[in-house]
Symmetry: C2
Subunit: 155 residues, 2 copies
């Protein structure tokens, strides 16, 4: 059911602007993508607390739920929330650099990187919940976040 | 891997305030829970567009991704974001009624209702993606949202 190839295909199809829902206005796109990332970050924080920092007791079920959440964000078709006119040159409430729209290949690459890393995180969490393996893949997801931030997010 | 019983147990454990992450401040709890619901609502909108209204072409993979997203929110341990002091009597930016804290049994009931309905939605989407079945379960998820709004959300 959760084949990486499937999610990769999904990520690809969504990054390339297949319609998913009736077009949202700019404000809604920005608010919704920020919400998606906030939700993902909360769940990344749970894994950090339990698998890296150890300040909360490790709980396999909670780690799987967190990984499911992060993967569901990464595979949700975020590309639909990065439509024309949603960068910081035209809006005060986003840090998206306008260069995003000049580099569709790079945008696709970082989106696929996030989807692949998060789907693998979900697989690791579902596959026995080994703490060290989860921590290692958490680091890979973090790198995939950073790859996009470095390229397309203003300081 | 995705047994309803598992998710029910998870929902229960999280509603009853098992620590998941180091305690967040009130502002973060409100912002994060609103983000989670915004992300879920966006994905509910996709299913509405494709399986109910039909204004966007039906796509099984997109419906599965949307159902995964909604289920991941419902099973993410939202109870941790409804801590003491996060209702509208003490904050301007939430519609959570203070009664929420007087009715823990009811709060648990609506949280479990959402988790069960959303997990079933995910199962329906994963199990062949039948449009009518998805539409029917979408309606059940909507009812579970309304059950909480009616009880605990101000107009």
């Amino acid at each position: 059911m959760r084949k990486s190839g499937f999610f990769l295909a999904l990520a690809l199809s969504l990054v390339t602007a297949t319609p998913v829902v009736a077009q949202m206005d700019v404000e809604d796109q920005i608010n919704t993508r920020q919400s998606a990332f906030t939700f993902a970050a909360w769940n990344m924080g749970k894994i950090k607390s339990q698998a890296i920092d150890g300040d909360v007791a490790y709980n396999e079920q909670q780690m799987l739920a967190a990984a499911n959440a992060i993967a569901s964000v990464a595979n949700s078709g975020l590309g639909a929330l990065f439509g024309p006119g949603t960068a910081m040159d035209k809006n005060d409430n986003t840090k998206l650099k306008p260069e995003f729209f000049d580099k569709p290949e790079k945008a696709r690459e970082v989106a696929i990187g996030f989807a692949q890393a998060a789907t693998k995180l979900q697989e690791v969490a579902a596959n026995g919940g080994d703490k060290a393996a989860l921590a290692a893949q958490f680091s890979e997801v973090g790198k995939s976040c950073k790859a996009c931030h470095d390229e397309f997010r203003a300081e």
